[in-house]
Symmetry: C2
Subunit: 336 residues, 2 copies
């Protein structure tokens, strides 16, 4: 029988906590027997929520935590001061080996800081990138870094490319993933100081399948499976993806409501459109891993519903079974 | 009577040259009596194209140029070597004062380099930003810099903010335009070294209406009228706008064709959708000005059709009549 994967879940993090988080945890436990969840947060409210669901009590434990880290709090301060918070307790469960992974929909800054300060980096990893999947017309790409590590160095981008390739191949299941360097032109000599120095490092790295520079326009077209960039650019790409989609869909909906004829048409296309928009969302892939840590830290969207919480928990199974951190140690760090 | 605005047009630049460029020039001349166009390029082909249109021959001249700068050519080399190219000849027409402005759909790199080397910067302007308008759900914003000037300094971003405000108010007609600094969070302390240093400069500048940091997600929502960033980020924003729109529209069209019911619906919503997508395009605003030069250089999209060429030519009228360069000299450079 497969080994149990122990996942700590920050029951108090996110816009829909604890309701949707607790629901997602129960769903994950019911979906896969290989997972055990530790719901960390205010025990009375979590237990109240849990009454709504049937689940295997052997694989869902509640661990009490008094404090909650709010989204607006300065991350470093919050992690240092709030030792009794649900997030910090989750971090320590991973650090001391009680859990293999943690999932939080809470403050991105606090997750990034806590991951580095408490869980800690794999020796040799310069920076742990936050690596969400982003939709494209054919599937998804892994975008890294989207974290708080701005002003990155070329050697760090090389590590992002290697770690991203390992994750994309072993967890998402894309064989020999194509790595692209996000740039402002496809020619080798294009870009800023960072991309110009990074290009030859990626080009000369035999362990990755580097396909060259990728312009932002080709990101949604799926021009690469692993998109390498520093965190400021990664953040802009991720948020433009959301913002342009939202704006366009809002426009299209308003446009369809503009005449009687188009309102009838809208009723007829609605089911097909709904499916299309679902295809262009990433909720089924779970959250964004913070790669290169001694354990797995997964950040899910602040607005996560139970389905994203569930999938974020389930993705921890592949992460452990595929021995991602072992691969990072062997393929990324030792090679440097 | 208003003064004539003389515009040099690179008849050989762009994917649809010379056909659409010549057509757009004729349309511009017919649309506004204040404009005179100098079509620069291979005289025989231009004259052949011109036979298709009726226009005031007093306000449309052809100037022969033997050479053409291709899109793939290294810009600096092309500008230096191809003295007889249509683009370089346009640049000299502006430099020597024969023309007020030039419009080109040709190589962006060559336009940027030629603008700086031949037309030249207004004294005191550190860098001339390329400033396209980008659509948002309520109208348009001006995005600068989208040029080749990567790795910018804070003082340059301050100048971009001032020049962008002048242009947005005087040419696009937005009173007291809201200036936003593109960043990875809205709090003042967020960002990379560049944005952290730029924030206080913008905050303490009394001549602009600074509204703070803007996340990329809020760009398509119209959170600011003037979006300030360095060129790498500007390029990513511009190209994500195009790429996400294209990908989503392709998805939606395919979704609508997926069942008989939705195909019927698609027929009914088509006219409304077409209008919506037109609202979300920027062709009616003309091309992107390269601000801060001794004259006006307008770069239009490489795939420009006649409507964009026409509007790019017509926008030169407001630029001259509103004395943009005079305002830049008085309000941007002298204040520094």
């Amino acid at each position: 029988m497969a080994e149990i994967v122990n996942v700590a879940v920050d029951a108090m993090g996110g816009d829909n906590a604890p309701g949707e988080v607790v629901k997602g945890a129960a769903e994950a436990v019911n979906a896969d027997k290989r997972v055990k969840v530790f719901l960390v947060g205010r025990e009375p409210v979590i237990k109240e929520e849990l009454k709504k669901y049937n689940y295997d009590v052997e694989r869902l434990e509640v661990i009490h935590a008094d404090e909650v880290i709010e989204t607006g709090e300065p991350p470093v301060m919050a992690i240092r001061k709030k030792k009794e918070s649900s997030l910090v307790k989750c971090m320590y469960l991973v650090k001391d080996g009680s859990c293999d992974a943690l999932v939080s929909a809470g403050s991105t800054g606090a997750v990034l800081v806590g991951g580095q300060i408490i869980v800690g980096r794999i020796k040799g990893v310069e920076r742990p990138p936050l690596a969400p999947v982003v939709p494209n017309i054919n599937g998804v790409s892994l975008l890294l870094d989207c974290g708080a590590n701005v002003d990155a160095r070329p050697s760090q981008l090389l590590q992002f490319a290697k770690m991203g390739s390992v994750y994309m191949e072993s967890v998402i299941g894309v064989k020999n993933p194509r790595v692209g360097l996000v740039n402002i032109g496809v020619e080798e000599e294009k870009g800023n100081a960072l991309t110009k120095e990074t290009y030859p490092l990626l080009h000369n790295c035999p362990e990755i399948n580097f396909v060259g520079n990728i312009e932002a326009r080709d990101v949604p077209m799926g021009a690469a499976d692993v998109l390498v960039c520093e965190a400021f650019v990664g953040n802009v790409i991720l948020k433009m993806m959301e913002g342009v989609s939202d704006a366009l869909i809002r426009k299209i909906k308003a446009g369809m409501m503009s005449s009687f004829k188009s309102r009838i048409g809208a009723l007829l296309v609605k089911p097909a459109l709904k499916q299309t928009l679902k295809d262009f969302s990433t909720e089924e892939y779970g959250g964004a891993p913070l790669l290169g840590l001694n354990g797995l830290v997964v950040k899910t969207h602040g607005s996560s519903k139970s389905v994203e919480i569930k999938n974020s928990i389930l993705q921890c199974i592949a992460f452990k079974e595929q021995k991602i951190n072992q691969k990072i140690k062997e393929q990324v760090v030792l090679e440097d």
